[in-house]
Symmetry: D2
Subunit: 205 residues, 4 copies
């Protein structure tokens, strides 16, 4: 295979990119300066070396110093009684943007598809167990919030995570909670499904 | 104006119908049988006479008998302590479909646009005040649920309705609540706005 | 069934209207004046009586006078050598709007679905044969233009119509043509299918 | 700026990529192997060196050998009497895919926006003039096909190119043509604009 086609294949590996758009990317790069291409290339080569995975929450972070913890996990002023489990880094960033949460996080790194035979291979099972156990030993943890998508795969992930956590939490008073359901911004009563209406009624205030 | 064009104009008065679709409707009718057209025509002529507006909730209902009340308002077994305010008939029907609510309703018949100078002309203000006063006299009412769309117009309607109700509710322990906000069915954490995340965290369970 | 539900069913018979929108229409009508409803109802009742089907092209038209022909078919100044076959009335109106055609028309009143066993029941077969024979007798007809959609059903209709016309046109020098294919307004070369590119190249000018 | 953010910026330079998707790309890369990242990085670094711009048509091509011409321009069996002008490489590839054209090409490398003051900077003006002059000297050229998008910018580009070519073509019998317009695959008569109907009628066959 030749260069244009090879590079097209690499761009196709990016999420949501089809063959046509991948090729557009290649042609767009061909119009960029040598300098642009060199810097872009260098960044890709070193990105994994410059980025660490946080030892606590497992998110990616820019490792400016020797700390094995990301900015959030290294912040002693956050609320130690609560940890939120999210599917992926961008979910965590979106929660942070809301400034509504001040506890710690754990990034599962994926979801568990329906009927998946090896769910432990789809999310960071071992790391989750290890981290939760450490938090239990510290004695501060009171609540684990599951913050997954409200769809079949999110709910399957929720069930799997609960089945993993339940044995560990035995004899502890730690509560597992899930994000509240209700009307989202933009919801119209006429088009809202019954499940959401039920939750919206229960969570009325 | 001639028949095809005139009838096209009438169809254009229906919500969401543009000139092209209105004309399609006319041509579609021309292909229907005489019998179809006669029955359709008769139904339109008498619909307002056969349909009553419920004296309590103000929704439209098929008046099979002499009762001035719709099926819901005439049902003594529903929860008398709570009334839900909705914008329109279809909202009420969608709430009913969820089987999550067993109280009574009031249909405002519209919303209050932002900066509206005569909000009382946009919703059934007089009828609402009259009905709430009667409910207060009965002594059962404990909660008024505002079930409006989660958008600027829905919130403006909510504020208007509260400004109307507050003076009436003085010296009563009736609570005004709104439908809970949170993740709707289908919500993904990555794409959820901060306001909804805040509510979803508050309403976690 | 009761009035609201019955009328909803009638609105559902209109093209492209689902149950929810049909019900919206009913509620919208309930908010209209008695006068509006009476006029709307009257128009529907008489529409078929006030509208004739043109004896030549079979389109619907407002019959202001005793003429059995529509405005176009009754116009002696149009080009008698060419007739265009279209699927439906709105297609004819759209062609007229372009002011690019000055011949006569015939409205098939439908299309022939793929694998249809009784194609003659789907389009005005008998009327088409009758009209084309009359035009052949008049001695003016030189071309029949097929103006159907460029999709599988349009092409199937085209094949059916040609199979019907071929025996009639035998021993006549009348030509059957189809609308030219090429780039439509808005087409981009990158996204154009091969079939259209082929035609666009053939029809370059 | 730190690595994740910096690399996000580079991905944003790709056509059609917003900040959120750019960040998704970075996180996706972080999950790829070192090997993948090294190869991807190397390809980007060398792509411009491995890719030549064809001396005739100006498209990008994988330069396997010492030839300054791409596969098409180097093919002596193609039709030398006709050259097609396209906006960009992908347009050329799409035309080739149709197998409907066997002449040569020239890639403008862009379009001329409406009211652009320096149109010569937007497309390969100098290279076009140089190439057309050489083709005229060879004595084979008979037709220049303009294959641009059917929209305002495409038509503006067409006018600019013609204004450039006219002085060169003086005293030659070379014809400038454009791709034919008409119904594209999928077109329905009801929704087709008047300009396209006019062309479809003119190009009927």
């Amino acid at each position: 295979m030749q260069s244009i086609e090879k590079l097209t294949e690499y761009f196709r590996a990016l999420p949501g990119i089809g063959p046509r758009q991948a090729k557009r990317f290649v042609y767009a790069l061909l119009l960029e300066s040598e300098e642009f291409l060199n810097e872009f290339s260098d960044l890709i080569k070193v990105i994994k070396k410059q980025i660490k995975v946080c030892e606590n929450c497992r998110r990616f972070f820019n490792s400016a110093n020797a700390s094995p913890l990301c900015r959030i996990c290294g912040d002693k002023n956050r609320e130690a009684s609560v940890i939120m489990l999210v599917e992926k880094d961008i979910d965590l960033e979106n929660i942070e943007k809301s400034r509504a949460y001040n506890g710690y996080y754990f990034v599962l790194g994926g979801t568990v598809p329906i009927l998946e035979k090896n769910p432990e291979s789809k999310v960071r099972t071992r790391e989750l167990i290890y981290y939760i156990k450490r938090l239990l030993e510290s004695g501060h943890l009171k609540e684990i919030i599951l913050a997954f998508a409200v769809n079949a795969e999110g709910e399957n992930t929720s069930e799997y995570v609960q089945s993993i956590l339940r044995p560990i939490l035995e004899n502890n008073s730690v509560k597992i909670s899930t994000l509240g359901r209700g009307l989202s911004t933009g919801s119209e009563v006429e088009y809202t499904d019954s499940e959401t209406i039920k939750s919206a009624l229960k969570n009325r205030s």
